[in-house]
């Protein structure tokens, strides 16, 4: 369609790039974009023209000449708005203003120039007035500019962009791209991977929203340059700065009372966190940028300031059982344990002890309020250096510090919380982009990220010494369900241990550290040979991550289980712990496994920190071939050497993998208005840290269990008067954690011999087939229709079969220092074997429909609809938990046992196929946007956004009893005890039984209407007032989840499903609340200035 504009001189054409969600094109860039085009005359003949691109983020200007075919291309363009001038001798030139280039985006700008007619008083310009997408794009993606996100998306972050994109569903707040695993999405900021290598998600703050220029959601990374994902990636580019100083200050404001309420949300039940102060929540985002040396060095700085926020919360209602001591059954000792609170105990001194109350921690101050304080700081910066107009270097970095302190005014926190929890994330990156010639470009990136958590008191900058001790308190709840005459008794549960925390230590807390490093070099070349035009990418990509997996358990790598503690310190300021000598399991109130009771138990772990290093070294080549104006073909091949190594460099896993890529593009009319694209793409993942850490050969996976052998002179409990103490002693913390007071090793543990893996265990991959059609109209409107099929391969199965062939002896990890007690027995360990299997499957089918357009100069709209089905018989490492779920899938759990004729439990009951947890069949996003110009350069926007999402699916399951297997185990155990043989490993007591096809039930679909008003209004000179008002779920439409269920054996021995929930006339569920699928109405406001 021709756009006729009559004007003297150069025609000014306003591009509609804001509306275009361009298909990523040929160039596989993650920090820059590109524009290419062809200049012809009215007869289609190529012209020799000069193209000049200028933009604030482009140092100087980019001047390009068309080649003999009239084609031109500009690569490595920093994201932002450009002015493009096209001039050719004898022809009327064209100027395109506000031409937006997004990160990783490739756009096409073709122009037809008219010859100047001397006799005419007017000149006519014909040409396309809108950019079209580049059909040779080697990915499928959607771009969001800073402005578009402000006007439509709400927050300037990955998740807002992902939520709006078809083919992406949000699972627990994290994106699932075309059925890929939730922790397999790559997140990149200025080319740097910022994903937590263990969690698989982005949890740290890495940017200030106002410093973001563009976000790209990549649905299918077709170019061989991309790897290490089973889903897609989300790329984000910061602003670079410019020759003019600029900046912004924005306050983001939120308040609890601005939120709507759902039915039955109770705030005053005494739950921890139930009462939240209705204070303003404010975060200040500040950015500043400008030249250090005009046209040569720019800087960008940003910070997010969150004033320390004090929240008042209320502790939960106290369960009575936590106020009782562990009892020994010896009334003489038990009477000593109930003492008055005013008594000051002198440890080691025999004395009459009056009654104390509030004996156990940590729930003394039930229903009491406490204050907690959060401090959050973030800084980022970027320096861009232009060596000349063809070579740029950028340096960037960021740092976040977060501290959460609950050591307020009450005894629970004072006791169990030895200081604030802290978190830090920092990273730096260096990048170089260079134009080596008219047809040769190079990009290099190096970045390094570190993230670490620290719990307990201590300076986050201090060298961690892991001084606090990890304490666990015995559960007093010894009751189990009554024994019915029929059916057989369910297994009596062992009393549990309740985690107290890292207790009253000095110095630093325990540390958990996650690091990643990436280096890449990519060379892009445009060459003509074999009568074809080639766009070739070749390069190398190295990625490394290592995680110190929180393997430290407190001071000196120890865990201690205790029976109780006094709520107050003694006169010397020491906490006091009651102890008796450990006799045997089941005696003096000690549990059957010996771990719970008044006699302390210590687990001494061995070795250095858990440390696994995963690497992915890749080399690739990708060739985008233009055959003619209608046909394009892309061929790519990527080779990944993927490894996982122990601390000492020994291999855990090591594989070599090839990933082919293929794209066939057909442009019906040769003008990019009607384009079919077929693609095949193998996406290869690496080994997630959360998985490989299970196989680390570090000694932290080994322990010796020791029991309390007492202070000098401490007698056996119950034997003798002992001055009225009957063997009871109160000890201080240093005495409690002194390993010299322990001995009589009861048990060894060594997981390194229990997790068996095939050294050649291959990481999973996804084979994707996609067929896509895109129709672009002359007005700039477009519609995209795509069908995507993905099939996962190399899925990991984990075998957990209770068979003697799978048992291995657990050797002494202390190397003889703690031999087994005479009453203890050597144990055999159960092995878990991991392997690739074809018996597990995971498929994705998706249809994506997307369209956008402009109604007039003010109104525009966007619409997308996705229909998808994610099905399989294994979650394959996908779950709501970021750690992944690689536990043995139901199918392989005790497989040989269930297949016995006398057991005969079918696979449909153990692990049926069906809808997986991230299967959300329907997603609709529709928006209407009005942007009203204000003054010369300002605007006010009004947006209405409608969201519709299918409800989550669920499967009724139940931890069914393995009664027969436990009986068989008990028989083997008795035999081993009788003949002094190693004890067999204890099988699990339950297995997960499915009561329907997987994902057969669904929660209600949810929908909401959001309204958003945003503005940038000139105030004075270059200063603008900016801000936005967002109302989510305007009509407070709240969808409820279904119900909570519980399976228990009924009166005839069958497992029956009981429904819980107050609206059914029953008790509340464990959390005491109904569950809601949609959040109530929420209001957010931001306001500030920019210049």
């Amino acid at each position: 369609m021709l756009n006729m504009i009559k004007r003297f001189g150069t025609a000014r054409i306003t591009a509609l790039g804001l509306l275009l969600a361009a298909q990523p094109v040929v160039m596989a860039q993650v920090t820059t974009g590109q524009v290419s085009g062809i200049v012809t005359d009215a007869f289609g003949r190529p012209l020799r023209a000069i193209i000049v691109l200028t933009a604030p983020q482009l140092m100087g200007q980019r001047v390009i000449m068309t080649d003999a075919r009239g084609e031109w291309r500009a690569l490595l363009l920093p994201p932002g708005a450009y002015t493009i001038k096209i001039q050719a001798d004898g022809y009327i030139g064209a100027t395109i203003r506000n031409f937006r280039v997004g990160v990783g985006q490739s756009l096409r700008q073709n122009n037809i120039l008219r010859a100047v007619t001397v006799s005419s008083a007017t000149v006519e310009i014909t040409g396309h007035d809108v950019a079209t997408f580049d059909k040779t794009d080697t990915k499928t993606s959607v771009n969001y500019s800073h402005e578009r996100l402000i006007q439509l998306g709400g927050d300037l972050n990955f998740w807002s962009a992902a939520s709006m994109t078809p083919g992406v569903v949000m699972s627990g707040g994290n994106p699932v791209i075309r059925g890929g695993q939730v922790n397999s999405v790559n997140f990149r900021l200025d080319g740097a991977d910022i994903k937590d290598p263990h969690q698989g998600t982005v949890d740290a703050v890495w940017y200030v929203g106002d410093s973001i220029e563009d976000i790209q959601v990549v649905l299918s990374p077709l170019n061989a340059r991309y790897g290490r994902t089973l889903g897609g990636s989300i790329n984000m580019a910061r602003k670079s700065g410019g020759n003019e100083f600029g900046g912004s200050v924005r306050a983001n404001i939120d308040r609890d009372s601005w939120r709507g309420r759902a039915r039955d949300i109770r705030e005053d039940e005494g739950r921890e966190g139930g009462n939240v102060s209705d204070a303003f929540s404010r975060t200040w985002d500040v950015t500043l940028s400008g030249p250090v040396w005009k046209d040569h060095v720019w800087f960008m700085f940003g910070t997010s300031i969150t004033p320390a926020r004090v929240e008042n919360s209320t502790l939960i209602a106290q369960n009575e059982r936590y106020r009782r001591t562990i009892l020994t059954g010896d009334t003489r000792i038990d009477n000593l344990l109930a003492v008055d609170s005013d008594f000051n105990v002198t440890p080691g001194v025999i004395q009459q002890i009056p009654k104390l109350s509030g004996y156990c921690i940590p729930f003394w101050d039930a229903l009491q309020s406490y204050d907690s304080t959060q401090n959050n700081k973030f800084y980022e910066g970027k320096v861009t250096v232009a060596l000349n107009e063809n070579h740029r270097i950028s340096f960037g970095g960021s740092r976040q510090e977060w501290e959460f302190d609950r050591s307020g005014s009450n005894s629970y926190l004072r006791l169990a919380q030895s200081g604030p929890d802290s978190y830090m994330a920092q990273g730096w990156n260096i990048g170089y982009d260079g134009v080596l010639g008219e047809k040769t470009f190079v990009e290099t990136r190096v970045y390094r990220n570190r993230q670490w958590n620290k719990w307990g008191r201590g300076d986050i900058k201090a060298d961690p010494t892991y001084t606090p001790v990890e304490l666990w308190l015995s559960d007093n709840e010894m009751d189990g369900p009554p024994n019915p005459p029929n059916p057989p008794n369910p297994p009596t549960p062992e009393p549990s241990l309740n985690y107290v925390g890292r207790f009253a230590g000095l110095g630093g807390g325990s540390l958990n550290e996650r690091n990643s490093l990436n280096a890449s070099v990519n060379l892009t070349m445009f060459r003509d040979f074999w009568h074809l035009s080639h766009n070739i990418d070749v390069g190398v990509d190295y990625y490394m991550s290592d995680v110190r997996d929180g393997s430290r358990h407190g001071q000196n790598n120890r865990i201690v289980s205790i029976g109780g503690i006094y709520e107050e310190k003694d006169k010397d300021g020491d906490w006091l712990f009651p102890t008796i000598l450990w006799r045997a399991p089941g005696l003096f109130g000690q549990s059957e496994n010996g771990n719970n009771g008044l006699a302390p138990v210590m687990w001494q772990y061995y070795g250095v920190d858990g440390f696994v290093k995963n690497t992915d070294a890749a080399i690739y080549i990708n060739d985008q071939i233009t055959i003619n104006s209608r046909w394009n073909i892309m061929l790519g091949l990527r080779f990944d050497q993927i490894k996982s190594e122990n601390t000492d460099g020994s291999a855990i896993f090591s594989t070599n993998n090839f990933s082919p890529r293929f794209v066939l593009t057909y442009d019906v009319l040769g003008e990019s208005s009607r384009v079919f694209k077929f693609s095949y793409n193998r996406m290869q993942s690496d080994y997630p840290q959360s998985f490989t850490n299970n196989f680390a050969d570090t000694l932290v996976r080994k322990y010796v269990k020791l029991v309390w052998t007492g202070l000098p002179g401490q007698p056996i409990p119950g034997e003798g008067f002992d001055g009225g103490m009957f063997g009871l002693r109160f000890v201080t913390l240093p005495e409690l954690i002194d390993i010299n007071n322990y001995g009589r090793a009861q048990e060894y543990y060594d997981s390194s011999v229990q997790y068996i893996r095939d050294l050649n265990l291959k990481p999973m991959y996804n084979d994707e087939f996609a067929l896509e059609y895109r129709r672009t109209y002359s007005s700039g409107k477009y519609i995209r229709l795509a069908y995507v099929y993905r099939k996962e391969g190399n899925i990991w199965g984990g075998s957990h079969d209770y068979l003697p062939d799978n048992w291995v002896p657990i050797l002494d990890p202390s190397n003889g220092k703690y031999p087994l007690d005479n009453d203890a027995h050597q144990m055999l360990g159960q092995t878990h074997v991991y392997f690739n299997t074809d018996e597990l499957w995971r498929d994705y089918h998706g249809v994506e429909l997307e369209s956008a357009g402009r109604i007039n100069s003010i109104f525009s709209w966007n619409f997308s609809y996705s229909y998808s089905r994610l099905r399989g018989n294994s979650e394959a490492g996908d779950s709501y938990s970021s750690f992944g779920n690689f536990a043995p899938p139901g199918y392989f759990m005790l497989k040989s046992y269930f297949e016995r004729p006398d057991i005969n439990v079918s696979m449909d009951q153990r692990s049926p196929g069906g809808a997986l947890i991230n299967d959300y069949p329907h997603k609709v996003r529709a928006s209407l946007l009005a942007v009203v110009p204000v003054a010369k350069s300002g605007w006010i926007s009004y947006a209405a956004i409608f969201n519709y999402d299918a409800g989550a699916n669920w499967t009724p399951t139940y931890p069914a009893s393995l009664e027969l297997l436990r009986k068989e185990y008990n028989a083997l155990r008795l035999e081993a005890l009788a003949f002094n043989k190693p004890l067999p490993p204890s099988p699990p007591s339950t297995w997960t039984k499915f009561y329907s096809q997987r994902g057969a039930y669904h929660a209600n679909d949810t929908y909401s209407l959001n309204l958003r008003i945003a503005w940038e209004i000139p105030v004075w000179n270059r200063v603008k007032a900016m801000g936005d008002l967002s109302i989510y779920n305007v009509f407070n439409k709240i969808q409820e989840y279904s119900y909570n269920t519980e399976f228990v054996p009924n009166s005839v021995g069958l497992d029956s499903l009981y429904l819980l929930g107050e609206r059914f006339g029953r008790s509340r569920n464990a959390e005491g609340l109904e569950a809601y699928a949609t959040l109530p109405r929420q209001i957010y406001v931001s306001a500030g200035i920019k210049f």
């Binding site: 057909y666 084979d767 129709r775 429909l849 609809y865 329907s996 039930y1001 209600n1004 009166s1051 029956s1056």
Partner: protein, 272 residues
């Protein structure tokens, strides 16, 4: 082999695209993609939403006497969870079903004693009640055939839809009750859960108008959506339902109700 098969299919489709003759109304062959939303004109039934959504691909030919087209797509009509009216359950044995609020004041002590001696969960004994929770939806692939008589930019359309009417009911329930039988007091507790599907090729006629421009068109039509509703029936007091269906010898076949529900639908189409 499977990969090769998909590769060949996809490549073939891409190549076939080369022969697609897309264009404006004046061409013989036309195609388009449609997105659709509709609203029920009658009162809500079957605990389904009053609205539905769908999308489809259309292809057709323009003749002198009008335009003939075929459309393949998918439609979806959701429903929210609801609690079944327990008083409507067939109850041949005259069980007194314990409803929310009924327990324990109106239950004889003798019955309470029986319940307490049975192996029911602790929570259930103190909050005894009955609930039958269900969720219905209607969706499925469909095919439409339509004839349109154009008058300038407006056309009159009639046609039929086949399919798009797969009814699905999810149910999960837990009911309990008691009765006095002679001198004895008896109790029951049935639990059952399952899924019922009714897939059929129903025929739904439609008619309306279309308004066209060069690249888009809008259709406003009335459609009578035909489907068969399936409602699981459980007889209380029968043997406790097992997982996977709760069916016993005493359960009658599910109720089936044929429906014909008028809707008004709005379709936005994009010419390919």
């Amino acid at each position: 082999m499977k990969a090769c098969k998909y590769f060949c299919i996809g490549a073939t489709l891409a190549l076939l695209g080369a022969f697609v003759q897309v264009g404006a109304q004046e061409t013989f062959f036309f195609s388009g993609v449609k997105v659709r939303g509709g609203v029920q004109l009658a009162s809500r039934e079957d605990n389904l939403s009053s609205v539905f959504m769908g999308f489809g691909l259309e292809a057709g030919c323009a003749f002198r006497f009008g335009r003939l087209s075929g459309e393949a797509g998918f439609s979806y009509k959701p429903g929210n969870q609801y609690l079944r009216d327990l008083s409507l359950m067939p109850n041949p044995d005259d069980w007194i079903i314990i409803y929310p609020g009924y327990w324990p004041d109106r239950v004889p002590n003798e019955v309470i004693d029986i319940i307490n001696s049975s192996y029911w969960p602790k929570e259930k004994k103190t909050d005894l009640s009955s609930v039958d929770s269900r969720k219905n939806q209607l969706d499925g692939l469909y095919f439409r055939a339509a004839y349109e008589k154009p008058f300038q930019h407006i056309g009159l359309r009639v046609g039929v839809q086949v399919g798009g009417s797969d009814f699905r009911q999810e149910y999960i329930a837990d009911i309990s009750g008691w009765r006095k039988l002679g001198n004895d007091n008896q109790i029951f507790n049935d639990t059952y859960n399952g899924i019922h599907n009714k897939n059929q090729l129903s025929i739904s006629p439609f008619g309306g108008i279309s308004i066209s421009s060069e690249n888009y068109f809008l259709e406003i039509q009335l459609i009578g959506v035909s489907y068969t509703m399936v409602d699981y029936i459980h007889v209380p007091g029968t043997e406790p339902g097992k997982h996977g269906g709760g069916h016993t010898l005493f359960d009658p076949p599910p109720n089936k109700y044929k429906r014909f529900v008028p809707h008004i639908e709005f379709t936005l189409g994009f010419r390919l």
